[in-house]
């Protein structure tokens, strides 16, 4: 490798790094500014007087302003905190149920020699073409009749309609990639068909299943349309809806930024921890 080539590659790597990180870094920078500084006539690219006040106030504490004056807790704090907790609860439930439902189905569609296999697979993935906006009104009507509107249970079920087809598709290609005849060996060893799946195939696909769980979690955590239409204004409202009630109002951008960052932390952490699994996912289905 020539020196010139090396330099160019490192330069490109730097650009790729900045491209990926700069927008995120910027919202963090804003969240660390006092509103006074943010609102100054010139745009400051770095906080001259960095502060955690926006976060402290969102979490219910008081703080000092840049000039030493007193700042009350953020009025949206309770909404945002409740939203974060609800999001965590919904996302965990969605992850658990999606895995329970999708993993066996994906296995069956990938490895059990059954009739209608491709038809089944197509039915499942076809539902992914439906844009949520198109079905929210009837969906809401149904939920109203079933008393599911404005509940976390309802939102979990709604999210399952998104995550399950997604995981089935990803899982199918995973299981399909395992060596053929795995079950036969297991069955020769005296396993039943179920045991072959449960004791042999599942452990063999642990990385894959980690990735699936991560994707289910992220999809639910990030879902906005259903969360907004079904649960807005109720105590079952998740973070995205809570954030949007802040974002679209007369609000202070530095405070919106800190709330946004709080909501970003869980998916970013999850993605960073599990990125080597995500990388291996067959991304075709996403």
């Amino acid at each position: 490798m020539t020196v010139r080539r090396k330099v160019i590659i490192h330069l490109l790597a730097l650009i790729a790094f900045v491209w990926s990180v700069a927008p995120l870094a910027w919202i963090v920078v804003i969240s660390l500014m006092y509103h006074h500084e943010f609102g100054s006539a010139e745009i400051h690219l770095l906080p001259g007087q960095p502060t955690l006040a926006n976060y402290v106030r969102l979490l219910g504490g008081t703080a000092r302003n840049w000039d030493g004056s007193h700042l009350e807790p953020n009025a949206y704090g309770p909404l945002i905190r409740e939203g974060l907790l609800n999001s965590a609860e919904v996302a965990v439930l969605v992850t658990v149920f999606s895995m329970l439902v999708a993993v066996p189905a994906a296995y069956a569609l990938a490895r059990v020699q059954m009739r209608f296999r491709q038809a089944g697979l197509l039915t499942v993935v076809a539902t992914r073409a439906i844009p949520p906006v198109a079905t929210t009104v009837p969906f809401f009507t149904l939920y109203q009749a079933l008393n599911l509107a404005g509940t976390k249970t309802g939102l979990v079920i709604a999210h399952l309609t998104i995550t399950v087809p997604l995981l089935v598709w990803i899982g199918t290609s995973f299981f399909g990639g395992l060596p053929p005849g795995l079950e036969r060996i297991a069955q020769v060893d005296g396993c039943s068909r179920w045991q072959a799946f449960w004791r042999i195939v599942v452990p063999a696909s642990r990385p894959a299943m980690t990735a699936m769980a991560v994707i289910a979690f992220l999809t639910s955590w990030d879902e906005f349309t259903f969360a907004l239409i079904f649960n807005t204004g109720t105590s079952a409202q998740t973070f995205p809806a809570a954030l949007s009630s802040m974002f679209f109002q007369v609000s202070v951008p530095t405070e919106v930024a800190s709330a946004t960052v709080l909501g970003l932390i869980p998916p970013l952490v999850v993605a960073a921890i599990f990125q080597r699994y995500i990388r291996k996912v067959n991304l075709v289905g996403l």
């Binding site: 006074h36 609102g39 309770p78 491709q118 809401f140 239409i229 807005t232 949007s244 009630s245």
Partner: protein, 462 residues
């Protein structure tokens, strides 16, 4: 693959058949909503608490509202579930009411209730025990705004002038125009050009051009037309403007302002917060703003223009139009006892509290946030004057100017008291920016606005 697609086709056919069979049946039960018949004897204030009420608001100072709710719960022993609706409030609220969600008290702007009431989604206040007293004490324009088809349908949450014209004295001083306020829009536009020419600032005018689904550019359009005495809607909401109307010229002037760079960049995709934020940053001479943001602008902790923002006096021509927020009561088939509890909640927020007989919550809104109220007594109270003085330079001169705005404001009643008005206003919020940025000619936009109004009248009846 051909085999697969055949299967897919069959399945699609099956699904279609199912849809035709199941759709109407299910729709029939989803669509049947039992609404409560109107009328009945006046109710009396309940002796005890009880019931559990659902209250929905938009996200303005949720902490203050939460506190007022707690007070109410403590005093009356009635539980209130308070929720903040996100973002596109009118659309989401309309959806909730249409779908029969049990909501006992909700915020609304005054252009929504006509549709809500005629559709039977809200109860009226005709059986409210203090109806006559409340009506008597209301500012007449507010009383009229909250009267739909002869019935009182809500109590006022706030009442002020949307688009009261604010000036930044700092910029005016730099341009050597201090105290030389424009009297009409034409003078205003001439002056902002002069300000730019004199180099006082680049973007002297911050108009209400942002296109949020609720007010923004549509309110900007309606209020400027009203202020200029250009008729838009006649009796019963019939459109009386066409391509020959003076609004075409008004829109062309908007286009010029935008074209000449007299307004801040990106103003068409602003949100409410960008609008206040940009004014608070300085560098804007004039802007129609929401009156309650005076407090934000006056706070040196959040604003660079503290002590420099004053209202422009009205000299012959009005600036802005009446803006009323209301407390409505949803109709979900509740009985008289629950209705009475809801009345009391509405009374606590939107009139004199039943127990204290005082304007507790309205007065707090007025003096803490300069959210002026639908009641003359509150707006003219010395307490309010004292608070406002903190947010206004030279209160002796400027407070009367603010009061004048609310004395006899213009109102878009003929449009706001139609069932289709909100839908038309949504349409306008996407149509008007095209005239501003030149995507469409002003004439075409005006024609489209008229055509839309006519087609909506066809759908809604009137």
């Amino acid at each position: 693959m051909s085999q697969l697609s055949r299967r897919r086709l069959l399945r699609a056919a099956g699904l279609t058949a199912l849809a035709f069979g199941a759709g109407p049946g299910l729709a029939a039960c989803a669509g049947s909503q039992v609404r409560t018949p109107r009328g009945g004897p006046p109710l009396s204030a309940p002796a005890t608490g009880g019931a559990s009420l659902n209250m929905r608001i938009w996200g303005a100072y949720p902490d203050f509202v939460g506190g007022a709710v707690k007070d109410f719960e403590r005093t009356y022993g009635t539980k209130v579930d308070l929720g903040v609706i996100a973002g596109d409030y009118p659309s989401l609220m309309t959806n909730l009411l249409r779908q029969n969600t049990p909501l006992d008290m909700v915020y609304s702007l005054w252009h929504m209730p006509q549709a809500y009431y005629e559709a039977g989604w809200i109860r009226d206040f005709e059986r409210f025990w203090a109806k006559e007293d409340a009506k008597r004490e209301m500012v007449p324009a507010v009383r009229e705004a909250l009267t739909v088809n002869g019935s009182l349908i809500g109590l006022p949450y706030f009442a002020f002038v949307n688009g009261a014209l604010f000036a930044n004295t700092d910029v005016l001083r730099k341009a050597n125009l201090e105290g030389d306020y424009p009297k009409t829009y034409d003078e205003l536009y001439a002056q902002v050009r002069l300000i730019k020419k004199r180099g006082a600032t680049d973007t002297p005018y911050l108009p209400s051009f942002w296109s949020a689904p609720w007010f923004g550019i549509t309110f900007g359009f309606l209020q400027e037309a009203l202020n200029r005495n250009i008729p838009l809607f006649g009796d019963g909401g019939l459109p009386v403007f066409d391509e020959q109307s003076a609004v075409v010229d008004m829109l062309r002037q908007w286009r010029d302002l935008y074209n000449e760079g007299l307004v801040p960049k990106g103003v068409l995709t602003f949100q409410e917060s960008d609008w206040t934020e940009t004014f608070a940053k300085g560098g804007v001479a004039y802007s129609p703003q929401l009156q309650y943001d005076l407090k934000t602008f006056a706070d040196p902790a959040t604003s660079q223009v503290a002590g420099k923002i004053v209202p422009v006096p009205q000299q012959g021509q009005h600036w802005g139009m009446l803006h009323v927020g209301a407390y409505l009561i949803g109709d979900h088939g509740q009985g008289d006892d629950v209705l009475a509890q809801s009345y009391r909640l509405a009374q606590h927020f939107g009139y004199r509290d039943q127990r204290t007989g005082e304007f507790d919550v309205p007065m707090a809104w007025a003096k803490n946030y300069y959210m002026t109220q639908g009641y003359t007594e509150v707006n003219n109270s010395p307490e309010l004057a004292e608070s406002v003085a903190k947010w206004l330079p030279d209160p002796e001169t400027n407070l009367p100017v603010l009061r004048d705005y609310l004395t006899n404001p213009q109102a878009a009643t003929s449009l706001f008291h139609t069932t289709w008005g909100p839908t038309w206003m949504n349409f306008a919020s996407h149509e008007l920016p095209k005239a501003v940025n030149g995507d469409e000619d002003a004439k075409t936009v005006v024609k489209n606005l008229r055509t839309k109004a006519e087609s909506l009248i066809d759908v809604y009846g009137h």
